[in-house]
């Protein structure tokens, strides 16, 4: 009992998520800076930024609903943190694993996006409203390919739990190659979900001054930032669990492998962020619906056929 509480609270649960999110944010910012020929921040910068933001004064917009305005950051952070408990970190076994947790994780990860929308809409400000609607528009663009990309490996594995999928592919590592298109789609859609360049139209600084969160300040903004950073960690962990399921059976070695895998995923995402211009929201929609969705559908059909064909 105590052991499982410690697992949830300390390792590999909340505390680890917090620390590792700061590490990944540092990696993200540092590598991004080095790619741009800048020096980049020191290692403690993400933590320092967070502490500073938490200590700042909170300003509530006059015509916003106060309770909703204050509750949204907490709700979105909670959803992301809950999702992390289903990702395998130490060994193949996640803290909580049950049949269907992959679907639960994907839905939990939709909550921050909806919170962004509500936050922007509730702020009653022209920039944040436009940002909110762009957030929602983008969500309609990426959600379908994202779900299909994550569910395709599940179909082949015949399991709806991340741990189960990992176990299936760990036993048959070559099957991972079948899911390569889905892996690429998952990377791109995650980039879009996290609102990072080139899919950062919802928070385009030079157009709508930061988008949905423009009225947020102080600790509420800090929670939203924490959400974004943890979301990066959770997405990287889930991608590592579903698409890169290589395990040795030894807990510590698997943990090291987990770190390598998530680092690799984050590095690819930084590369995407650094090498492209922000595309317009209509171009985003077009790209996701006319390029990624058909590929995702094809992947799903292929996996369904293989599931029957391979006699699994």
């Amino acid at each position: 009992m105590i052991a499982s509480i410690l697992k949830v609270l300390l390792f590999p649960g909340l505390l680890f998520l917090g620390v590792y999110s700061f590490v990944l944010e540092f990696v993200d910012r540092k590598v991004y800076a080095r790619m741009q020929n800048r020096k980049g921040p020191p290692w403690y910068q993400p933590l320092a930024d967070m502490l500073k933001l938490v200590g700042k004064k909170v300003i509530l917009p006059n015509n916003a609903q106060k309770f909703v305005f204050a509750a949204l950051p907490t709700v979105s952070l909670t959803a992301v943190v809950t999702a992390f408990l289903c990702a395998p970190v130490w060994g193949m076994q996640a803290v909580t694993a049950y049949e269907g947790d992959l679907v639960a994780v994907l839905y939990l990860l939709s909550i921050p996006t909806l919170c962004h929308f509500l936050a922007g809409y509730n702020s009653h400000e022209v920039y944040s409203t436009i940002g909110a609607f762009r957030t929602l528009t983008q969500m309609f663009a990426y959600e379908v390919p994202l779900f299909m990309a994550f569910l395709s490996p599940a179909i082949l594995a015949g399991s709806w739990s991340i741990t189960g999928i990992a176990a299936f592919y760990a036993a048959r590592p070559l099957y991972v190659l079948i899911n390569l298109p889905a892996f690429l789609i998952a990377l791109l859609t995650s980039q879009s979900k996290l609102e990072r360049a080139p899919f950062d139209a919802p928070e385009a600084e030079t157009e709508i001054v930061g988008g949905a969160l423009v009225e947020y300040s102080g600790r509420y903004l800090a929670y939203f930032r924490a959400t974004a950073v943890s979301e990066l960690t959770v997405m990287a962990s889930v991608i590592a669990g579903v698409f890169l399921p290589f395990f040795t059976g030894n807990g510590a070695v698997d943990f090291a492998l987990y770190l390598v895998k998530t680092f690799a995923v984050v590095l690819v995402m930084v590369l995407l962020r650094a090498t492209m211009a922000r595309i317009r929201i209509d171009q985003t929609l077009k790209f996701f619906w006319s390029v990624l969705t058909p590929v995702a559908i094809a992947q799903m059909i292929l996996n369904l056929l293989l599931r029957g064909g391979l006699g699994l």
């Binding site: 790619m35 436009i130 950062d200 157009e207 001054v209 211009a277 317009r280």
Partner: protein, 406 residues
């Protein structure tokens, strides 16, 4: 929130906004993401430069004119000095012309690199922004070596230049040119291959040749529509009388075309600097200039990085000008702005504004709308005929200028 009854949103961009480098106001009426109407309001940065010039003597004016623009300070002083030298009848040494030319082309390099950085920042491509601004430092360091300052180098003076270029400094310039050429070629390659960049720039902010003539747009905006209005080519001055410039034009008519024009102009600038350094003659760098100008008036044009720069001086014979008029290139490009913005998306607004390389403080003027005593209204045709006559007096036949038919 400024929402109207018909559910259309008026989005204010400016006077303070992250995409604007100087204060200016754009009221964008949105229909969804589409810009339905754009109202441009400038005038937040009026500094009274012209009036300040009229209450000081010419030598003091030179310092003010140097500060008209924070980027193309040399183009403004070049223009002002040429106007002064014209009226005073000064014979400027050839070496001075070459030094002016070299500094002018270096300035064009740093201005266009700055623009490329700003433009890529507007479309969210911060990596290119950091790269170009890093490379711009090379040019700024050179300019600091030449004039002692990174922006207002104070090279020009009446009757020549104030700073000579020594042999090792010229070697440094050539060295930097080699470094820059490689990088700019890389950017040119990037501009023609990077998918997201092209997707964001192509087909937006369209200004066809007819529109360019209608709105009197100048500089890279006009050249991107195939209209060759490079003053260095159509009305050569100074060093460009001896070293011809290869004109750069483009047929895209949009923001993408303006990008290509600027990138190609940078390569041309590097070529010009190399030729100038090879051909630079020995000799004095300035002649003594008078303090007073004879009564009269003159108007000179110089190609600044942003386009045609016009200075007008009217003298009443004293050591102070009676009237100074500075027409910075951005002033000509503002007129088409609303037209360029309307019909495109909100996401395109910052880059369309940035594509004319706007300089707000150079542009803002106080305009009095009350009519003067002897007011005269000339039609376009009369003005055109008058212009052709004036040019023929100066020995230039405008009939030889290639005008693109449409």
């Amino acid at each position: 929130m400024s929402e109207r009854n018909d559910h259309k949103v008026v989005l204010p961009i400016g006077p303070q906004h992250p995409s604007l480098k100087e204060p200016g106001s754009f009221k964008i009426t949105l229909d969804g993401e589409k810009v339905e109407r754009a109202v441009v309001e400038i005038g937040y940065n009026h500094r009274g430069i012209e009036k300040a010039c009229e209450s000081r003597n010419y030598t003091q004016d030179l310092y003010i004119i140097e500060r008209v623009c924070g980027i193309c300070s040399h183009a403004h002083t070049s223009c002002f000095c040429q106007a002064f030298e014209d009226m005073a009848g000064l014979e400027v040494p050839r070496r001075a012309y070459y030094i002016r030319g070299i500094v002018g082309e270096l300035e064009r390099l740093h201005s266009h690199l700055l623009w490329l950085g700003v433009a890529s920042h507007e479309i969210g491509f911060d990596t290119l922004f950091m790269y170009t601004w890093r490379d711009r430092e090379l040019v700024l360091d050179l300019l600091a070596q030449i004039g002692g300052n990174r922006v207002n180098y104070g090279v020009n003076t009446f009757g020549g230049v104030r700073r000579d270029l020594e042999a090792d400094l010229m070697q440094d310039i050539l060295h930097v040119c080699d470094q820059l050429e490689e990088k700019i070629k890389y950017y040119a390659d990037l501009a023609t291959t990077e998918t997201t960049l092209i997707a964001r720039l192509k087909g937006i902010g369209v200004l066809t040749p007819e529109d360019v003539r209608h709105f009197s747009a100048v500089g890279p905006v006009a050249r991107a529509a195939g209209i060759l209005d490079d003053i260095r080519v159509v009305e050569p001055y100074g060093v460009y009388k001896e070293i011809p410039v290869n004109a750069v034009t483009d047929d895209h008519c949009d923001v993408y075309g303006r990008t290509l024009v600027r990138v190609k102009e940078m390569l041309e600038s590097i070529r010009l600097i190399r030729v100038m350094i090879r051909e630079i003659p020995e000799g004095p760098i300035s002649v003594r200039a008078p303090r007073k100008l004879p009564a009269g008036e003159t108007l000179r044009r110089v190609e600044a990085p942003r386009g045609e720069n016009i200075h007008y001086i009217r003298s009443n014979g004293s050591d102070m000008p009676d009237r100074v008029r500075v027409r910075a290139p951005s002033e000509a490009n503002w007129h088409g702005m609303s037209y360029m913005l309307e019909g495109f998306q909100l996401a395109d607004v910052p880059i369309i504004i940035a594509a004319i390389d706007p300089c707000y403080s150079c542009t803002d003027r106080a305009v009095s709308l009350s009519s003067g005593r002897d007011e005269q209204i000339a039609s376009w045709d009369q003005l055109r005929l008058f212009g052709i006559e004036q040019y023929k007096k100066n020995g230039i036949d405008p009939g030889s200028i290639a005008i693109r038919p449409f």
